[in-house]
Amino acid sequence: MLSFHRAQLPNGLDIVAEENPDSHSTALGLFVMTGSRDESPKINGVSHFLEHMMFKGSSKYTWEDVNRIFDEIGAKYNAFTSQEMTAYYANVLPEFSERAMEHLSHLLRPAIRVSDFTTEKNVILEEIAMYLDDPGHRLYEKLMELHFGNHPLSMSVLGSAESIRQLQRDEMADYFRQRYGPGNMVLAATGRLAFDQVVKLAEKYCGSWPHVDAPRHQPAPLYKPQRSDLFDAKLNRQYLMGMTPGPSAQDERRFAARVLADVIGDSDGSRFYWALVDNAIAEDADFGFYPHDGCGSFYLAITAGPDRIEQAQKIALGELEKVKTDLKDDEIERAKNKLASSLVLQGEVPLGRMRSIGSQWIYNKEYRSLEQDMATLMSVNRESLQKLMVDFPFAPMTVVSLGPGSQGGAPEA
């Protein structure tokens, strides 16, 4: 049976764990409440660049040691950075838990050597170039920038080639000191484990980390209806995205928002699917929910031929109006059943549970068992969705498009 445990070290590091004796492996993750929204424009991209530098060694280890040690224990390990969170994790066989914990702790005390910093800068520039070859990513960056305007969520995770070239090693070290305090993190462990042991290891390897206060600015976003068309003659397809306010990651209505998003725009069987993809007006038409810290968004994403994009957009926006008045119980039940299956499947894999528990704790300082999530999901009904659409009526909306059909639009900067 699953059991939940929590503890806090004297320096403020929260430890949360869900033990599953049926698992064959252990997943460990350190989640840090920091990301591009915590950057100033001058150092934009530092959170993500720093995540790379964590793998470049501590005072004790070089980058070669870091990579070698993780591979010696057969760990499946990685890290990711978003606008508001950075996470480092390893999935290992239970007998390697201690070495994984020790190693993760070294990762989060980086040396940031100048020579490594200079070399890795070129890797980041390659990553930026790689994403420039991905129209979906280019459009998403533009959407976030425009939708959030002066709000810090508008900041790009990767930064620009220019901001990365200008970034100094000491600016990164300062950012690290300000953001990577144990009070701004959680250690999440799932799968086969003994909690006492996890706490002991955390104490041993992370107990000396100094506490720092890492407050986050929470200005209220100023949303307004707006549209931007980017012209790119090189592309064949037209890409369109829209974003509009939704509940935050802390908001109880987030469960209803997830169900509503699937009713409207799941990849199969949703309203967008029948109105746009089943008949091939669009190749893809998704509607999703994207909760953030303190605010949230719904988004739509459509890919179609340049000659069909206007029609597709009109149909999609029409569906967003229609769903407010003719929502059916059976479509809600179907969306809930699909989401319930994905909860069960994700819950059987330690890495999936670790991500869920870690990010839940980072945002809400709350543990939710799979059963609780399931019960909340199942309690969503037509009334809650209708109320949600009164609170968040899909307006104002930011719309951006990219492709060869935006003749009137500006070339992308």
Partner: protein, 410 residues
């Protein structure tokens, strides 16, 4: 075979394989049909892709919307895709739901409606997907690499060609369905919280009287050449390298597999170390083992800014050549533990196991248990791998690039 595994071939040629997994609430199903791009008719590439979409647009007594609504209502997480050798349908959910869905999957692959409106939309979507390839140079590279490395028809783009798709009609698709959706060479696999007697009975009930005609062997023709450049105005030059190695059923397979792990297993892999960590020539670099029946290959990829791409290509090639000189005991030890951990972790996912045992049966005619894989990995020695590498010099290389300018090839 232990009681955790099931394997049975019905009289009509359909095989069921299964794995019971303790502690799981879910089950997953994979259904492989001998309807991949390799058996598309010569001038009708893309047929398999259109068909795999079309069969989901109404089957049995349910029209397209009723079918989708029903599968959604029982909460099935679904997938459908077309590879070179198979059309693949998969689903996962609470175990009893997956078993409940079997009757409907029998409708889909045996009694699809194949309606005209559905055909028009499925073909239109296939053409749209093709048009999108130019917008994603990395995907474009991988398609070109396969076309120039594998013998035809294995190197075909599963998405088809515009001219062929434009010629495709509903009648041709219906005939294609009759030919390729058949029990012979089809495999249905189930993994998770399942009762073997029950699922075997259910599969027999819904698929047992399925009939069809087996087809002959595929004639393989050599690819057009080994070096190819695709002109594209992109930020990075995308580079693909492929070369043949032993196939999955070969006695040397695990030795070959370890060599790939040393090349690209973790972040201490040679490619990541040399191309990215030391020289910062790329963000993404990797090599993997690719398995088709009768053909084992290594496929490698990197993408690098246009002015640094030559250095990246040279560096990857150098690492591939260097394998010939052998690997160290430490490298092998990391490769072994890495592969073993992956194998054990695969045992935590019903979807991963359903896919793996279906693949095993197709390749070997039997399931490999997780214990068998673990002991095969344990049994590999550094002498063994190095003897293999000394005997098999990497190459000949197929090299394909997508970018604004051609690179200098060896």
């Amino acid at each position: 075979m232990s009681e955790r595994y099931l394997q049975h071939t019905f009289e009509n040629g359909l095989t069921i394989v299964g794995q019971r997994m303790a502690g799981m609430q879910s089950a997953a199903m994979t259904l492989l049909l001998p309807a991949g791009a390799a058996t598309d008719p010569v001038d009708r590439s893309g047929s398999a892709t259109v068909l795999a979409d079309l069969v989901l647009r109404g089957a049995g007594a349910r029209d397209s919307r009723q079918l989708t609504d029903y599968l959604d209502s029982i909460g099935l997480q679904r997938s459908a895709s077309v590879g070179v050798q198979h059309a693949r349908f998969g689903c996962a959910a609470l175990a009893e739901r997956v078993v409940e869905g079997l009757a409907t999957y029998a409708d889909i692959v045996r009694r699809p409606m194949l309606p005209q409106t559905g055909f028009d939309a499925a073909r239109d979507l296939a053409l749209q997907a093709l048009a999108g390839i130019d917008d994603e140079p990395r995907q474009k590279l991988m398609i070109a690499l396969r076309a120039w490395h594998f013998p035809s028809p294995y190197g075909r783009n599963t998405m088809g060609e515009v001219a062929d798709l434009e010629k495709l009609t509903l009648d041709l698709s219906r005939a294609d369905f009759q030919r390729r959706y058949r029990p012979q060479e089809s495999i249905i696999s189930l993994a998770g919280n399942i009762d073997f007697e029950m699922v075997r009975g259910e599969v027999e009930r819904f698929f047992g009287d399925w009939t069809g005609t087996p087809s002959g062997p595929i004639e393989l023709l050599p690819p057009p050449g080994r070096f190819h450049h695709v002109q594209q105005a992109s930020e990075q030059t995308h580079i693909g390298i492929a070369y043949p190695t032993v196939q999955e059923t070969d006695a040397e397979y695990y030795a070959a597999r370890m060599a790939v792990e040393v090349l690209s297993g973790g972040m201490s892999g040679r490619l990541f170390t040399e191309v990215r960590e030391k020289r910062a020539l790329c963000y993404s670099v990797s090599a993997g083992y690719s398995s088709l029946k009768g053909l084992g290959s290594i496929l490698a990829y990197t993408g690098s800014s246009n002015d640094r791409a030559q250095a990246a290509l040279d560096c990857v090639l150098n690492e591939l050549h260097r394998l010939h000189d052998g690997i160290t005991a430490e490298e092998l030890s990391r490769a072994k533990i890495g592969l073993k951990a992956s194998t054990i972790m695969q045992g935590e996912s019903t979807s991963a196991r359903a896919a793996a045992i279906a693949h095993d049966f197709f390749m070997r005619g039997r399931i490999r248990t997780l214990d068998e894989i673990k002991s095969a990995i344990d049994g590999v020695t550094v002498e063994h791998v190095n003897a293999f590498l000394a005997e098999h010099e990497p190459g000949p290389f197929t090299i394909v690039t997508v970018g604004p300018k051609e690179l200098k090839l060896p």
